[in-house]
Each structure stands twice: as C-alpha cells, then as structure tokens.
Symmetry: C2
Subunit: 432 residues, 2 copies
C-alpha cells in the first residue's frame, strides 16, 4: 500500500522558488503576446471528449484522461490540447466577434503517455491563436512571436524549424501508399531516417519521380537554398503550392530581420493531424526537444460548423524552464523583502510599520513565533529574506528601529519616527 503522501506519476508540485520562476517566464511570454495584440482567454479544465477527437480519430485516443459525467453519462476528458477548445470557443461564444481574433492562453494540459525528455502528465503551456487570417503574414507573425518569446525568456541559442505540411501531404496523396504504410512513412520522414524511408518506398509501385522526392525530404533542411533544391524535384501541384507558400513566409521573415533564427525543414510534419500549412518548432541549442511548436490549422474550426482559417503556437513551460536551467539562465527569485521582528508587548507599532512598508509595495513577513533574535535571523536567512526590521529587542534603545541587512551583514539603527518618515517619504532607511 502506498503512503497517503504519494503523488501520482508525472504530476508536479512547484515550490515557492519553482513557482516564482514559472510565473516570471509566464509573465514575460504573456507580455510579448499582449504587446502583439493578443488577449488571454480561459478554457475549462475538462470538456466532453468529442471536442478533442479529430474526425480521423488519430490524435486524442490513448493520451486522454477520461471520466464519465455522472449527470449525462457522456465521457469527459481533461484538456489534452487547448487549440480545439479555442476552436470550439470561436465557433460558439465568439462566433459574432469581428475577425481576426488574437487569443492567448496559459494553462496546463494533460496527457497519459509522453516518454520523451521533460514530459509530464500535467504540463504548463502558454500560447496564442490567430483566428480568421490566411495570408502568409499571419504565419510569419506566429514565427516572429516565437522568436521574440525565446528572446524574452532569456534563451541565448535557439532556432525555429519551419516546414509546410502540405508538401509532405501532397506527395503522400499523390503516391497513395497502402493505408498501413502511410503513418510509417510520415514517421520515417519526420525522423529523417533514410534507411527506413528507402525500405518503405520499395513497397510502393511506380511513380519513381515521386519516390525520389520523398527520399530527398530529409536532406531538404537548411536556409532559403533548399527551396531551390526542392524546385528541381518532381513535386505534385499541392506540394508545389505548399513550397510557394513557404517561400512567401520566408520573405516576410527576412523583412522582419529574423532569417538568422529560422531553419527550413521540409520533413517537418506535426503531431496533430489538424495542421494544414506552415508548421514550426522552436529548439534550444543542444537540447533534443521542442520548446514551442505550432502551425496553421485551417480546417479545425470548421469542424465546429464555422469554417475559418487559423494559426497558432504554444510554449511548453516545463521545457523552457529545463532549457534555461541547462544554461544557468533561470530567473533570480528570492523570499519576502523584510522579516519584521517585534519583541515589544504592545504590537501597535509593529502593525503600523508593517502597513507602511506594505503600502510602499514591500513584502513584509511578520515573525509571530516566539523565539530569540538569533532564531529569528536564522529563519530569515533560511527563507531567503533580505532584511530584518527589529522592534523592542534587548540589543537596541527603546523607540528605535534596528535594521539588519542579511545579504551584506550591515546594520543601522534609527529612531522609530525617523524610520517611519523616511519610508513614508520614499527615502531609503536601509543600511548601505
């Protein structure tokens, strides 16, 4: 029997330090999103399962946490992906809102099986959806925001891999592999596995030009020049349209001055079947997993009876935190600013001081526990509190405030009213 203190595998508790780091990163990304005109929405933690099911039935499935709605008997599911929830929201509550809609979210999602590095069963996402626009400028806006997000959180070395799923989809639709073969082909293309790809292609009769194009996909990875290489191959019209769209987006990204951060990758497909155009992922140098990913999904909102083009992306915050930790770039966090230690019998002076300091925006913890000054200062140090403000101790004259700076081990003593006046007037009462 497990102890009552056990927590389920893959869920996480964030300590005060970890929470402060997560919130700092969230705030930086939300600030980027907000400055690009996006507004946050909040979606439910669970929904009817159907919202997360694609018509192909390929996606949700085994990853979803399901339970029965006692009221209706229908299956409920913990949010496995926020994009379909936003699609449902746009098609219902926001159906009559003017387009485009720029929406953002910060919430956790839940998936059963994610053996890859850094993956939890509950993990924090933060992202945006740009609804109602199909010009390539909209795709470029997403990629530009992903770059700005990476910069805002302090990632030093990162790149955005950009692909266009219609290139691969057009090839596969033209090749018409046996249904069982198709997902294996997609997987081999995505993993850039030339041996596997070759083996699979041998099982498809005819169309040598198309097979050559598929075989070339894993090498079509790099700068703008790979679009010229691709132009020399035999792509079907749908793939060519995808390549032309990708070229347009690249031009816009060059205008943004972002070419240095972008790598084109024609083998890029994406986990969710609903993607329908430009897709991309953000990677930190030396780490094998995506920090952010997204792309165009022009047919998803239509599944909720409101046909409407859209694109979006999200950061996986656990992975961003891991990437920052790997380069010692996590945000600095600390405890409250002040521990207020009061030995005087009449607590009113301490109440007054605490209120005054808090009104100036300082974080002031009261040391309510009964202990001596040494004990209180040990507590302050262990709690990452920078300063102690002391009233009524044996070490100080009456009617004074003793201030200890625990970082610099300096101290200062002030008459009570002089301290109050300095704080009220915004002068620094602190030791140097």
């Amino acid at each position: 029997m497990m102890p009552r203190t056990a927590i389920p595998k893959g869920v996480r508790v964030f300590t005060p330090e970890e929470t402060a780091q997560l919130r700092a990163i969230q705030a930086k990304l939300l600030s980027v999103f907000q400055r690009w005109g996006f507004r946050e929405i909040i979606t439910p933690t669970f929904e009817y399962l159907e919202v997360f099911e694609q018509p192909t039935g390929e996606d949700a499935g085994d990853q979803v946490f399901k339970f029965v709605d006692r009221q209706t008997g229908r299956l409920l599911a913990l949010r496995v992906d926020i994009t379909p929830q936003v699609a449902r929201l746009v098609a219902t509550t926001l159906r009559h809102a003017p387009l485009p809609l720029r929406l953002a979210y910060a919430a956790s999602v839940f998936r059963y099986h994610e053996p890859r590095a850094g993956r939890q069963r509950e993990f924090e996402q933060i992202g945006v959806e740009l609804i109602g626009l199909d010009p390539p400028e909209a795709d470029a806006e997403m990629i530009a925001m992903a770059v700005e997000g990476c910069q805002a959180v302090g990632l030093r070395a990162f790149q955005i891999d950009v692909g266009q799923v219609e290139v691969v989809r057009g090839l596969l639709n033209a090749l018409q592999p046996a249904p069982a073969l198709r997902p294996r082909l997609v997987s081999a293309i995505r993993r850039k596995d030339p041996l596997e790809l070759d083996l699979l292609l041998r099982e498809i009769p005819g169309a040598p030009d198309l097979r050559d194009a598929v075989r070339a996909l894993p090498q079509l990875y790099g700068g703008r020049e790979i679009l010229e290489q691709a132009a020399r191959l035999h792509f079907p019209p749908a793939s060519r349209a995808g390549l032309a769209n990708l070229a347009e987006v690249v031009t816009i990204l060059e205008n943004y001055g972002l070419a240095e951060h972008v790598i084109l990758d024609l083998a890029e497909t994406h986990a969710f079947e609903y993607y329908s155009g430009i897709v991309f992922g953000a990677f930190a140098r030396g780490l094998g997993y995506q920090l952010a990913s997204g792309g165009r999904y022009d047919h998803l909102i239509g599944q909720f009876d409101y046909p409407c083009p859209a694109t979006g992306f999200s950061f996986d915050l656990d992975r961003v935190l891991a990437a920052l930790a790997a380069t010692d770039a996590l945000p600095q966090v600390s405890g409250p600013d002040i521990l207020l230690i009061d030995f005087s019998p009449d607590k009113r002076a301490a109440h007054r001081l605490a209120r005054l300091l808090r009104d100036r925006g300082l974080a002031v913890a009261r040391d309510i526990i009964k202990r001596d000054l040494t004990g209180s200062l040990d507590y302050a140090r262990a709690s990452a509190i920078r300063r102690a403000v002391i009233l009524g101790s044996a070490e100080q004259p009456p009617e004074t405030v003793l201030i200890l700076d625990l970082a610099t081990e300096t101290r200062r003593s002030l008459p009570f009213e002089a301290f109050v006046q300095a704080v009220a007037e915004g002068d620094s009462p602190w030791p140097m």
Copy 2:
C-alpha cells in the same frame, strides 16, 4: 445527441474581457498576499483520492470527480480543495523548510454538486496558508489579510464573520447526541434555525444548561458584547477555551483597527471537518454567499505524519466577480492599444513601427486582413482598440503616419521619421 460544440454543465469559458477582469482581481489579491510575505506554490490538478479524504470520511465523497489511474489502478481525483494538497506538500517536499511557511495559490478546484448561487463545477480560488503557527496573531493575520483583500479588489461594503468551531464542538462533545443527530444539530446551528434546533434538542436527555447554551448560539452574533453574553451561559471547558481564544483574536483585530469589519458569530461552523479553531467568512452586503472563507486546521498536516498547526483562507473568484458586478465595480478592461493598418506594398516600415511601439510597452495588433480603411476602423472599434496608426492610405501624403483616436474621434498626421522619433524619445505622438 448533443452537438460537438456543447460544454459540460458548470464549467466556464472566460472571454478576453472576462479573463482580463479575472486576472486583474487575481493580481490585486496576489499582490496583497505577496506584501504580507506569502509566496505562491502550484499544486497538481489531480491527486490520489486519499489526499482529499478526511479520516471521518465526511467531506470529499460525492463532490469529487474521480477516475482510475491506468498505471496503478488507484483512484485519482480532481483537486476538490487545495488545503489538503498544501498539507501534503508541507509534510513532504517542504518538511525541512523553516517554519512558519507562508504559502499562496491561485488555481481552480472541482466539485460536482454546488446548488448555491454563483457556484460552478470548476471554479477559481486564490488563497493562502500560514503553516507552523498557533498564536492568535496568526489567526488575526488571516482575517486582516481577508479585509485587505476585499478592499484591494474594490468591494465597498463587506464584513467578516468570525467564529470558533471549538465552541460548538465542545458543546456537542459534552452533550453527546446520538450520532445521527449530530450533523443535523450542526446544520441547524449554522442555519440559525431556532425551531429546528429546539426540536432536535428535545431528543437529547438531561443537561438542560448545555442545551440552553446550544439554543443561545444563533443569537450570539454581533460585536465584542456577545462574548460577555456567552460568559453568562453554561459552556464546557473546551468551549470556554475557544471563547477565550476568540477574545484574544478580537483584541488583536481591534489593534489592527479592523473591528468595524468584523462580526462575531458563535454559530459559525464550517463545511470542512478539518477546521479546529478560529474560522471566518467574508460577505458582501446584500449577497447571501461567502466571497472568502477559511480558518485554523491544526490537525490536518498531522494526517500526513507531520503534526503542525496551520491556518489559511481563500477567495472564490467567481463570487468576487459576481459581487463586483452587482455594484458596477468590475475592473475596466479594453482591447489592444493600437491597430496598425498598412496599405504600403513594402511592409518594412510597418514592421519597424510595430517593433518600436511594442518596445515602449504598447499593445499593437497588425491589421493583416485585406480590406479598406473603413472596414479596418470598424474592426478596431468593435475590438475595443483605442487608436489606429495608418501607413500608405489614399487619405494621407507619402511618408507620413496618420493617427486616429477612436475614442475622441480626433486625428493627427506626422512625417514618418518625426513619429518614430517621438515614440523613441517617449514624447506623445498621439492626438489630444
């Protein structure tokens, strides 16, 4: 068959306006908590069911959303209450952290049945836990923070009802009613129902003094004077200890200058069985439900093998929003600051402007869609965007920036470089 766009009963989608209001309220309360020295933690959305089960088995039960952990076969539960999670965290991850711990959280909780007004199945809570302190100063800190929270979010008329569960518990333990009678007595006391109470008390033999004390509880509601009234009744020692504790807390609250916000209520018990001392609830005038509630729970953390006194409380944000809506006091929110409309073929000037404005902290949406100026301005108005910044329209000379203030219907035209310079130098380029 329900449409795919249906959402389950009792869960909510927050639109951009509603989300901005919720986030504004959350930020104000988190700021209060932080200035009192509390630091946010994040708990998992689901846990093993046992974490939420009290030894008495009275609480979780039917309110909990449960599902089976496929890996272990154990029952998982959506977070029905955050306090037991914090208790578990304190007893495990934070077991060696110095006490007291001041912890805060902002998260949704999930409960099946809540027929009362304003209740959802998923609802947003924000609260604090003060761990490791049993002096009455700790209870007073919670109540003072609840008052400050109500003030911070803009509630104009509110009161905090303060009780002490040991008063009622001491009476019931002395009276020893039949087990089936006890919850009915508690309920009648809480509802201040004298007729029901009288009927129930007739079923208990003997102890007329104790029964008189129980019968008096619903009237013991008011200022400090009710403590003197209570002193004249026949309370058992445990109840008298509770009354003495309540008197100490009242004295501290008077020192804080908070007496005007506080009503004592000896009939106050609380929904959760784990409460063990001072309990309180915050009410807005004219609304029949609690906006915040909490109290002391000295025996809960011990259930996770780490005996430790504690107190805490939380705001129910849906109810706070409803209370603010009822008095027209919801935070004002609006759309992005600027819609950047660009008719010029070369998009680089627009990119440059957007970046410059965003670097100054302004929220700038690009109008990517193809439409005429009237259409774009209609969109801006419908999206609550205050200003339009226009490049390359037929209405303006080349190399100029046309600015329309949609709130005041004023306009201004500036040479492009003059606009850039004004923004870069922090001068206002906006029409009056």
